[in-house]
């Protein structure tokens, strides 16, 4: 279970998170929505310790995420970065199998490659991309390699930062199914950021909407349409008019 309590983070004068409270029960899928630049990616990075929050508490299974054995902590996580963040000096399969080739999860090279090829297949990529360099792939393919890398070591907790952005509708469907499958079949805890309302409905158990540095609304996905929250309604229906100022 992941719990964020009153988390704040500013960059200089810019107050991005202003007291974020969020709880993600174990084995459930939380989707975070919210306008561009509201701090969704920053929130994920705070949990992973990539960004130090200014104040507030982040607990994973009741323990403070910052203390303790960082290695053991991170070994439980998988993360898909918004920009892919593939290592451009390594071929695709070594990117996917990065964790399996070194450190405490290390295993023989042939086995690591086999797992990498299998994960690539699950994100809709054929084995022949395994030996290409990331720069030789299209944007959507890079995203899927990033996804394959995030799930390669079968983590317990997976963060997806815009997994379907830049993918065609069919591939988006494949990825949505995959994320759902990982949560349901493998019992993983997932936190996904997306702007794609089809994805939200396909992936989420719970939805949280981030606005102005706080969670504006959160609840089960089934309650989303009848929330009565003007912010959330404007967002799901994509209206330019409403409480969220679109043009500043």
């Amino acid at each position: 279970m992941i719990r964020m309590e009153n988390v704040t983070k500013s960059f200089g004068q810019k107050h991005v998170l202003r007291g974020l409270d969020l709880e993600i029960p174990r084995g459930t899928s939380m989707v975070i929505i919210g306008g561009s630049g509201t701090g969704k990616s920053v929130a994920l990075k705070c949990v992973l310790g990539l960004i130090q929050p200014d104040s507030g508490k982040i607990l994973v299974d009741g323990k403070d995420a910052r203390g303790g054995d960082r290695d053991a902590f991170l070994a439980r996580f998988g993360m898909l970065f918004q920009g892919g963040a593939l290592f451009d000096s390594l071929p695709v399969w070594q990117n996917v199998a990065f964790r399996l080739l070194r450190g405490r999860l290390k295993r023989p090279q042939a086995e690591a490659r086999e797992i990498a090829v299998d994960k690539l297949r699950r994100v809709g990529l054929t084995p022949d991309v395994a030996d290409l360099l990331p720069a030789e792939l299209s944007g959507g393919m890079q995203k899927r390699v990033g996804l394959a890398r995030a799930i390669a070591a079968d983590p317990e907790i997976i963060f997806f930062d815009e997994p379907t952005t830049g993918l065609d509708p069919i591939m988006s469907g494949v990825i949505n199914d995959l994320i759902r499958e990982i949560v349901v079949e493998m019992g993983a805890t997932a936190m996904t950021i997306t702007h794609d309302m089809t994805s939200v409905r396909a992936i989420a158990d719970n939805v949280a909407m981030l606005h102005d540095g706080v969670i504006q609304w959160t609840g089960p996905v089934a309650d989303m349409d009848a929330s009565g929250d003007p912010y959330l309604e404007q967002f799901i229906h994509g209206r330019a008019e409403g409480p969220i100022e679109a043009v500043r």
Binding site: K45, L48, G49, L50, D71, L74, A75, F77, G78, M79, F81, Q82, G83, A85, L86, F87, D88, F98, R99, R102, G103, R104, L105, R149
Partner: protein
């Protein structure tokens, strides 16, 4: 206000300079400590050895060759003003080994290696690859920094040694081909004149300059700001700082060896 503003500027830059010195020192200590603590990444070390050592040979060799040749001509023309042309072999040897060999190699390494390390690591930072490394339970200090610093520490002295020899060979070629020196006597004079301490100081400088070059590339890369501008700035700052520090360290080390 206008009168005081230069003072304010002075104060700010002094503080900035002190803070940067502190940060770089801490970074360097950390980097060294990671060289001695597992896990190690042999493949990364091998790549760094190739990039920093082997592939720098041509540029360091060419620099030394031309420097040695020019040095012989200058010493000959300077020496002839008081009938001391005969000192060419000795002065070329000592000038190359004690001073120009390590400095020229160090500056070429700053141009070639520091810039490429800084640009590479800064790009990784900007594209979140450093963050990705961390989430994949890999410490960037161990995976990126330690192998590069170690590789520079090991290979730059060798490069300097090779550069010294090529520089002397450059001086020899010019002296024998166009200044009328006797080949055997030239070599004999060179060998007789050089002392072990000359060579030790040359290699020690090489090690120091190598560490400075790699360390600055890594530090400014890791500290890069966002975007392409961040990468450009990191690269520029790293090369500038490395070059100045190499020249300062050269002065300090020359002083140390001079007093021995």
């Amino acid at each position: 206000m206008i009168i005081l503003s230069p003072l304010g500027w002075l104060g700010r830059s002094t503080l900035y300079f002190l803070a940067a010195t502190g940060r770089i020192t801490l970074f360097a200590l950390q980097a060294f400590s990671h060289i001695f603590r597992p896990p190690w990444y042999p493949r990364e070390l091998f790549n760094a050895l190739m990039q920093i050592g082997w592939l720098s040979l041509p540029v360091v060799g060419m620099t030394a060759l031309f420097t040695g040749g020019a040095l012989a001509l200058q010493i000959y023309s300077g020496g002839s003003r008081f009938n001391a042309e005969a000192v060419v072999p000795q002065i070329v040897a000592i000038g190359m080994v004690r001073e120009l060999g390590p400095v020229m190699a160090g500056l070429m390494i700053a141009a070639r290696v520091t810039s490429s390390i800084a640009a590479e690591i800064a790009t990784m930072k900007v594209t979140e690859q450093i963050d990705a490394l961390v989430t994949l339970s890999t410490d960037p200090m161990k995976y990126l920094v330690a192998p590069r610093v170690l590789a520079a520490l090991l290979t730059v002295p060798v490069l300097v040694g090779v550069g010294d020899i090529i520089g002397i060979a450059g001086g020899y070629t010019v002296a024998v081909q166009s200044l009328g020196f006797n080949p055997a006597a030239y070599l004999q004079n060179t060998v007789d004149f050089l002392e072990p301490l000359d060579i030790i100081s040359s290699l020690a400088k090489g090690a120091a300059f190598g560490v400075i070059a790699a360390m600055m590339g890594c530090y400014f890369g890791m500290a890069s700001g966002r975007g392409a501008m961040g990468v450009g700035r990191a690269t520029k700052d790293s090369v500038e700082t490395a070059a100045v520090l190499i020249l300062a360290a050269n002065f300090a080390l020359t002083g140390v060896f001079f007093s021995l």
